[in-house]
Amino acid sequence: MVETLEERGGGAYVESFDETEEVMTINMGPVHPSTHGVLRLVLELSGETVLSCRPTIGYLHTGMEKECEDQSWRSAVTIVTRMDYLAPFFNEQAYSMAVEQLLGIEVPPRGKYIRTLMAEMNRLSSHLVWFGTSGLDMGAISAVFYGFRERELILDFYEMVTGLRMNHGYFIPGGVWQDFPEGWDEVCRSITDILPGRIAEYEDLLTQNPIWLERTRNVGVLSADDVIALGASGPVARASGIDLDLRRDLPYEAYGDVSFEVPTATEGDVYARYRVRIAEMRESVKIIEQLMDAMPDGDYKNMDPKLTVPPRSELNRSMEAVIHHFKLVTQGYSVPPGEAYVPVESPRGELGAYVVSDGGTSPYRCHVRDPSFVNLQTLGPMAKGGLVADLIAIISSIDPVMGGVDR
């Protein structure tokens, strides 16, 4: 075997093979179905055991932070929404809230409720993708059918509300760009009625499944100290007993008005992360139901004419509206100089937007602290000493989205 590798100049995947130590360095990825995107791992293996695992990223880097600096404050939303593409509303939410903080404006209650509801829907749809792909990675292929089936209902709801299935650009600084359409509550109710039963079905499929337990329990254990040291957040942190949830700790938007639990576990293994995410889905359904019942009437965005385009009907009769419209479309509004960092709790953890303004009409700096990017640092410590097959389980339990990692 060694001769063959030498003949092939190391081979396509094997970078080096030390005959004496029997340590093999191989590439996993960047194109590999179970790496959840273009994640490349450089593995040092001794047989099946992982000695070290080094993530190599940047394959999806498109310079979105730089692009934001060239957009108006309003249109940079359309860039940030493409970062973590499974959780687009959270990107928009963090960015919009940071700009609102710089502007010193308030979102009307209905705008806050709409944003919170859409964000929780997004948590569901993101966790459903995690559920499906996670099952797929570990041989429970039917999980992906069920997960994507329910996700489709939620994507239809997005399409109804925003016109798009992903990369919505729906949240804007000041609120959302259009109100919920008529009949939204029936569609929303049908989703919240269906999901608890479906989540129970998922649990029937996996929670007590002996193969699933074998693959996930005591695999990829991360201690609470490691979580804090490596900066992990979200379900990865909560499964290791770190009880951090920004929705509860810094109740932003409408989270102060709803009651929900923050599921945690202490084992810190892949199975604990599975249980935390499943429990989070149930809590999200509860939050959505409460928000629907208490949805206030009124404006859905800040109606300051200097910040938001006037309604179409106004343009026909008001010269002032035409001027505002012209100014906003050609130039956009300017934001007072300053900086703001606003974190929100995305399905993967703390998603923060650090926005700097120099007083101009476009962001001076728009940095997004993506949870996948930081959580990926836990991969090496978790994979060390495990098997290659465990590594697959660990990657899907971190649930990284490479669009967010590379930006």
């Binding site: 990223i57 940047g58 880097h61 310079g63 932070e65 730089k66 692009e67 600096e69 060239d70 809230m97 609102e100 903080q101 010193g104 404006i105 308030e106 804090i228 040291a229 490596l230 900066g231 992990a232 957040s233 951090l244 949830d245 920004l246 700790d249 810094l250 109740p251 932003y252 102060g256 100089p337 900086e339 703001a340 960092y341 606003v342 974190p343 703390e350 923060g352 650090y354 700097v356 120099d358 001076y364 700096r365 940095h367 602290r369 990017f373 930081v374 990926l376 640092q377 590379d406 930006r407």
Partner: protein, 197 residues
């Protein structure tokens, strides 16, 4: 604005004090949540051009604070926070990659998002945005990496293309810079003839 998002207190720490200050902050229970580079070239910050902006939170997640650390010297540098908070590893590599800020003591300070052979630091304000300029006048095309030939019509003194990438068409093609320069479509004859014409 909700009270929970009242602006986090901002402090400036000199690069020389940063290592000691980071350690004492960690002992006070502060954990690192974010670290980002910032090019203050057109802000009236009154300090060094490059800064590192660190977001910290205290266990429990309610307390937050922001710390600016100006990077001094050429290349701009400051002590790494990785020995204190290992979470800073990827974030400092990103700041190095995007701004060219050097973190002294970082275990593996290499590019993280851009290719390793990339020239320049994209998020610096003097780095081109990367638009393809709209030209209404005939422009000499540079043909990059044409085997064994001079770039036809391209002026020999243009060593960087519009992306700011080095154009080494005369060097061997294995040079990574030549590969990136193949994005170049055309260069203006002089700097004056830009997009706005």
């Amino acid at each position: 604005m909700s009270e929970s998002f009242a602006r986090a207190p901002v402090a400036y720490v000199a690069a020389g004090d940063w290592a000691a200050r980071a350690r004492s902050l960690k002992d006070e229970g502060w954990a690192l949540s974010d670290l980002a580079g910032l090019d203050t070239i057109s802000l009236d910050s009154g300090s060094e051009r490059f800064e590192v902006v660190v977001q910290l939170f205290q266990a429990g997640g309610r307390q937050r604070r922001t710390i600016h650390v100006p990077a001094e010297g050429e290349p701009p540098s400051l002590p790494s926070a990785v020995p204190v908070w290992p979470a800073a590893d990827f974030l400092e590599r990103e700041a190095f990659d995007m701004f060219g800020i050097h973190f002294e003591g970082h275990p593996n300070l290499t590019r993280i998002l851009m290719p390793e052979e990339w020239v320049g630091h994209p998020l610096r304000k003097d780095y081109g945005v990367g638009k393809v300029p709209v030209e209404f006048i005939a422009q000499p095309l540079i043909q990059i990496g044409a085997p064994g030939g001079d770039p036809s019509g391209g002026s020999s003194q243009s060593e960087v293309d519009w992306l700011g990438q080095a154009v080494n068409s005369k060097d061997d093609d294995e040079n990574g810079a030549a590969e990136h320069a193949s994005f170049a479509r055309a260069v203006p004859e002089s700097g004056d003839k830009g997009v706005n014409q």
